[in-house]
């Protein structure tokens, strides 16, 4: 099977398990984001793919060949480090040409390729600059160009944009995605910014404490989270307790809701409802009863905090559909079963 395959990869440091039995299959040409909270093992997983760390158990295949024990320098990959790791003693051009020089490529071919890459990253004519004199975004691009110089099979980036300010980061996300689509290179990006993952990825892999919790397309991750961790980690969500009576009818916050059912046999569960799917209406008529506790007007969106049976529910609406409520008012909450997901508790 071509592409990148991780088979039951485990990494232990002493008796601490940093990555636990991870299996993942990345088809050629896809853009994957590894997403998860700090310390969940993203960097460790990426370092094993790069060959900088050896897995304790499991195997890694690239393009059909088992590369678990192949040393890094024979793996045919490009990697961008969080610190960028540009060589301080080399110029921009020499940095980009490093992988070609190591392979003994003729000087004129090197130069041509460097010019090509500099044009690609929109820094033409920068070859003779010192890397110390570049701005953050420029250094970023040089690191990307350096990693792509030999047209590797696999492109790895560990939190490549975390050092940039918010505006530049968004621009670079789009640029990186376009570049990847143009080159069609299999790319894995580590990030702990879920917006970044949603912007760039074909597949988002959500990790927590060394394990993969869900691997799916961004929309699916958002719309159909596999568990409460994913639902909570990706975007904002309301996690509401669901209980089923003996007949199997489910009720949320004391109100029976049609169309929602727990898995057979389960008496309790959680309902994940995105704030934009929460509808505020007049109290009564089968709606969940609650009281408005706080209203936050963010300009582009209005967040209404409602307390219902001791649980806080957040509703988001656009200024166009501004709910006609005020703090202290009793309101009704309506949930749409079609946009809600029942999760195990």
């Amino acid at each position: 099977m071509s592409g990148l395959n991780l088979n039951h990869v485990t990494k232990q440091f002493g008796n601490f398990t940093a990555v636990n039995d991870v299996s993942l299959s990345v088809p050629d040409g896809t853009f994957v984001c590894l997403l998860g909270p700090s310390g969940c093992g993203k960097t460790t997983l990426m370092r094993m793919i790069a060959g900088l760390d050896l897995p304790t158990k499991g195997s890694i295949e690239l393009g059909g060949a088992d590369i678990t024990a192949v040393p890094t320098h024979k793996r045919d990959l490009g990697m961008v480090f969080q610190s960028l790791a540009l060589f301080p003693h080399l110029t921009v051009g020499e940095n980009i040409a490093y992988s070609l020089r190591i392979r003994g490529t003729p000087k004129d071919v090197q130069k041509k390729r460097v010019d090509e890459l500099l044009a690609m990253i929109h820094l033409p004519g920068f070859a003779d600059r010192s890397v110390a004199k570049l701005s953050g975004g420029q250094r970023q691009r040089v690191a990307i160009a350096r990693a792509l110089a030999i047209s590797p099979k696999l492109f790895l980036l560990d939190e490549p944009l975390s050092a940039l300010d918010a505006k530049l980061r968004e621009a670079m996300q789009v640029e990186l995605r376009q570049l990847q689509q143009r080159l069609g290179i299999t790319t894995i990006v580590v990030t702990h910014d879920q917006r970044e993952a949603m912007t760039m990825a074909d597949t988002v892999v959500v990790m927590n404490s060394g394990e993969i919790r869900q691997a799916a397309a961004p929309v699916d991750i958002y719309r159909r989270p596999a568990d409460s961790f994913v639902a909570d980690f990706i975007g904002q969500t309301n996690l509401l307790p669901v209980v089923a009576d003996s007949a199997g009818r489910a009720s949320v916050l004391g109100e029976m809701i049609e169309g929602i059912s727990l898995p057979t046999g389960a008496a309790k569960g959680l309902l994940s409802v995105r704030p934009e799917d929460v509808q505020l209406t007049a109290a009564g008529h089968g709606a969940i009863a609650g009281t408005v506790t706080f209203i936050r007007d963010l300009g582009g969106a209005i967040e209404t905090f409602v307390e219902a049976s001791g649980t806080q529910v957040i509703a988001v609406s656009s200024p166009r559909n501004r709910p006609d409520v005020s703090v202290g008012q009793s309101v009704g909450i309506r949930l749409d079963p079609a946009t809600s997901v029942v999760l195990a508790r």
Binding site: H73, L77, G78, M79, S83, F87, Y98
Partner: protein, 284 residues
């Protein structure tokens, strides 16, 4: 932080103390030495103020030229040996577990507490026929008969490298610890084997530190006068040995001072040349 050049005399205040120390302990003795070097020698170990260049003229001979040449060669060889052994050693040390680093650094620091005399006698025992390391080789069956390895050039080199090695490591260590370990990892992902990464990234990135270390060990080795006498033949004696000999045994202070001044000037010249060469390469 913005740095402004000092405006008033008081702004130079922090410099007064080090400047004073430098004058008392370096400028004054050195000026005295320069003065003595042009004095006239009297019989019986005394000298009278004068302004003659006889003392300098005296060592413009083939003999002193050879000794000077050998001294410089030995100092350069020791500096090169220390750096060639010291860089890989310190690199591996800086990448090893903390406990191992501490053990090694303590061991190296304790070498510093040994005097040159002790180091010299220790090595002359180790290199002797009766109690030296060749006995060990005989016992292992690698050698037919124990033999003396001293006096020889190798013995002088070994002991001097041993003596200067802790300084080398202590100068290189902070630079190597500060060197971002992801630089070598980046080189490996770009297709360089660990050895190639070491030579194309670690060594060039530390160029200035390496140059500084070379100069330091060079100057340190140039002043060594006991080890060449203890472990070498007369042709391995350095200019420092001759200076000691003139100053202490022949009581010819003006001549010793002249040689010392000359040695300082030559080594300053060489250091300047090295720094200039380093800067040329950086500017390119």
């Amino acid at each position: 932080m913005r740095r402004e050049p000092p405006q008033r005399l008081a702004d130079y205040g922090p410099l007064f103390f080090p400047a004073g120390m430098l004058i008392v302990f370096f400028v004054v003795p050195f000026a005295t030495m320069i003065a003595v070097s042009v004095f006239q020698r009297e019989q019986g170990g005394f000298y009278t103020p004068a302004f003659v260049f006889d003392n300098y003229a005296r060592f413009l001979s083939l003999f002193f030229g050879k000794v000077l040449g050998f001294s410089l060669f030995l100092a350069i060889a020791v500096a090169a040996a220390c750096v060639v052994i010291g860089i890989p050693f310190t690199y591996l040390l800086s990448r090893s577990p903390r406990r191992i680093q501490i053990v090694w650094l303590v061991a190296l620091l304790s070498i510093l507490s040994l005097s040159e005399v002790m180091i010299g006698f220790a090595w002359s025992t180790l290199f002797s026929r009766t109690a030296g390391i060749t006995n060990l080789l005989v016992w292992l069956g690698l050698m037919a008969q124990a033999q003396a390895l001293t006096p020889s050039f190798g013995a002088v080199m070994t002991a001097m490298t041993y003596q200067a090695f802790p300084y080398t490591v202590l100068v290189l260590y902070p630079a190597l610890v500060r060197l971002d370990p992801t630089l070598t990892e980046a080189a490996r992902t770009l297709g360089a084997s660990p050895v190639k990464a070491f030579f194309t990234v670690v060594v060039p990135a530390l160029r200035n530190t390496i140059l500084a270390t070379l100069i330091m060990v060079f100057i340190f080795a140039l002043g060594s006068y006991l080890l060449p006498q203890l472990l070498g033949r007369p042709q391995h004696w350095t200019l420092s040995v001759l200076i000691t000999d003139q100053a202490i045994y022949q009581s010819n202070m003006p001549f010793a001072a002249a040689m010392a001044v000359f040695l300082v000037l030559v080594s300053l010249g060489l250091v300047g040349l090295a720094l200039y060469a380093g800067q040329q390469r950086q500017a390119k």
